[in-house]
Symmetry: C2
Subunit: 533 residues, 2 copies
Amino acid sequence: MTGQQLWERYQRHLCTCPRTGIQLDISRMPFPDDYFARMAEPIGKACCAMDALEGGALANADEGRQVGHYWLRDPSRAPSPEFAADISETLSQVKTFAGDVHSRKVRPAGAEGFENVLVVGIGGSALGPQLLADALGSSADRMRVSLLDNTDPDGIDRTLADLGEALRHTLTLVISKSGGTKETRNGMVEVAHTYRNLGLDFARHAIAVTGRDSALHRRSREENWLAMFPMWDWVGGRTSVTSAVGMLPAALQGIDVDAFLAGARDMDATTRQHDVPSNPAALMALMWHHATEGRGSKDLVILPYKDRLALLARYLQQLVMESLGKEVDLRGNVVRQGLTVYGNKGSTDQHAYVQQLREGVHNFFVTFVEVLRDRPGTSVPVEPGVTSGDYLHGFLLGTREALFEKGRASMTITLPELNAGTLGALIALYERTVGLYASLIDVNAYHQPGVEAGKKAAERVIDLQRRICETLPYDRPQTATEVAAAIDAPDEVETVFKVLEHLAANPDRGVLRTSGGEPLQARYHRSEQRSGG
Amino acid sequence: MTGQQLWERYQRHLCTCPRTGIQLDISRMPFPDDYFARMAEPIGKACCAMDALEGGALANADEGRQVGHYWLRDPSRAPSPEFAADISETLSQVKTFAGDVHSRKVRPAGAEGFENVLVVGIGGSALGPQLLADALGSSADRMRVSLLDNTDPDGIDRTLADLGEALRHTLTLVISKSGGTKETRNGMVEVAHTYRNLGLDFARHAIAVTGRDSALHRRSREENWLAMFPMWDWVGGRTSVTSAVGMLPAALQGIDVDAFLAGARDMDATTRQHDVPSNPAALMALMWHHATEGRGSKDLVILPYKDRLALLARYLQQLVMESLGKEVDLRGNVVRQGLTVYGNKGSTDQHAYVQQLREGVHNFFVTFVEVLRDRPGTSVPVEPGVTSGDYLHGFLLGTREALFEKGRASMTITLPELNAGTLGALIALYERTVGLYASLIDVNAYHQPGVEAGKKAAERVIDLQRRICETLPYDRPQTATEVAAAIDAPDEVETVFKVLEHLAANPDRGVLRTSGGEPLQARYHRSEQRSGG
């Protein structure tokens, strides 16, 4: 194609969103001319399914649940006045509470006011807050946000050591929709212990964001925590960023949550349209379908040229892969669907894996994210007439071109600038794209049945460990095989071995290892002292 | 397979490294019994090629260069006494310099001593320092490390605003092997400008790590920077972490660089062996080959269950994808090779994309990284007898099992604990694996010819922009098409449009946009004021 033909293709397919000014360029995706005509019926059906979902259908059929994240930015669209009121009141309470913290009406016992926020959550209860904090935060933030998103003891130690005495003026937000997520429960227990060690009352620093009447809600009530904000079973974790899950930490940090919600609402209005050429979510869903033959045959590389969007790919990794990575379709056929997402940021990644993208395995397509505004202030020249931002922009265009030359497909999303509104819109764009694409490939985008298996297998390991610890003798060192036999789990000897190795590596756990010549011949016994029990 | 059979397979294939205690478990990779026999000849050849490389062969044939990162941890193996002396002296100078900074023998003009390190680098000059700083840092560090790894103006602003007045006692390390990387040059210019704005002499805060007689070296000499440490053309950026690139920031931070190098050296000794069952790099290379049919047909998911290793996957993404992602093999055949790497950390990622791994597209294999030691101190129970670390470990084993049940392959690397030595060994393990695997698939792992294309295309964009800025009239607003014609680049109208949109979005650039009805009908002209020029 000549430059002139490319320019015509660019103009023909460019989709510009009203209000947000966000643009989607699909001209460098190699779909044929008749593609939209061929796909008119399935994408039309997908748009209708989305209408039904927004209208309150049980779109998450397996779990018998409605799917209501779009209502969060426009409560008037909620299917009942009760839902609408609940959404509006919760948002209002979030903003009031954040205001009370900022004005020091709400404050800790021994300090002037709260200055830090510690979010304890994982998955959908962490990625949204984390993305917003990083993408929109600055040294002018009202509060500094940190995060515990795992059950790694050393990671917990490090985060708490970084906070140190600042825990005295730190609000801890425990976020768990079910209220029973083990990683979050463990983080909470460790954090509460650390507050107590500083002589502080954890409850007077603690806030729950959770489903009504969950275990976490009950605990927060019994212990008289500072506040509780509700999650609803019609909002999935990975689409909860516009609920209190995302809005509470953001409001505390000082982010303009109204602008964020307005951006999402504007994008919702744009992506609600059935007219495909003016609906960027429909266009993206069709591009995903074309690029991956509707079966995830290529990975989606997300390359935002903006440091603040370095976590976007990780956020989308969850949104996309947990929504689309399904074994069976809606009719029960085994389909093993999905769409793999990875990426970090440009131009940094040009010095990492773009070598492979240009020359190597052709197993991907790219979405560039371009932000036109470079910085709030003025730029110094790095060469006469040229700024750092010109280079950043030039590297994006250059890499787009270098990939195109080699037949590698890419889309480009353009944001006029990065702010709360455009970030809200960008997230809403992807939420809708995932929903429409799920319809095209006929899977339920709103459950995650595969996550349970790993949790249950982990519970079996924990149970095995309990039995090992009860049974392991003090005096006669035993091999893993002997221990497995003693707890009547001879078939689980490999897991028993792994558990014993883990316990023995931690001196406070009271399991001693007597090494034989070979590592696998090691014997284990209990010592007298023992913590964690 | 029964649990007993799995245990036998586990024991039969477990590879335990002497000294470091690192283990590799390949028992959950579905290679057939005769696989090692079938692959004996190619892996034997790969080991011989590695011997030649370590002996000083021109292993990077396309660039006519030796490949010497293994010498960096054992200078006695360098092919000449000059190289050996240069390596040893540079390391010694790195440690002396760091000591002088810590003892405040080297200090800034207006402050007691240097307290911060700012690394300016990208790709191989940033990922190693970044991984080490995050994986081995603590609140007890001698100096706090921050990083500029891009040419994003807003990202630069944010990093420098975080430092603020602390720039007065900040050492800036400008790291660029070629000395001409634009992102790094731009970061350096912006940083120097900020020092000057604070009334500080950048040169008295600046250190170069670069090739001898590079543009950066010359500049550092002319401006009388604090110090310069050499890079060598026989060390590639992505394997430069054991050179001054990684060791200087690490030593300044207070990391035990000798332990790190010793760990790498110990692993080198283990992975130098031709005996496959006791060489974990040879085993891993064979597993990659089996899992991806020797052509990158599956992605490699890296899942370390340890917060401190959250950047490992990003580090390996560069090491693996830039090394293996090649269009042609050593004989010039078009092969489009590679191995896609992504990942973050467990159990966090179980709440992100593990849904897809278990149920969805079967386009990956996993490497778990297990760290046996949970934390330095003792653990509180989160349930009777159970700690956070037990859960972390249980989730690893549970997910390994849940994936195995569904026929998804995984390997597990076990570290007794995470410290400078085991991290050095882990990196060395992957360096060797990449080298051996490159031999198996017959590609040059040590060049990156595809990276140039994007840079050149970017230079063309910058050049186009210069011509636009020279030509754009003050009075008569022009469309992109008219501007492209005026600079005699009618075929580049799409790029001209993108450049104009970028300039117009930044008020300090002196380009005004008059919007027509349609975005694509916009017209542009120059205003009087203009910065960046």
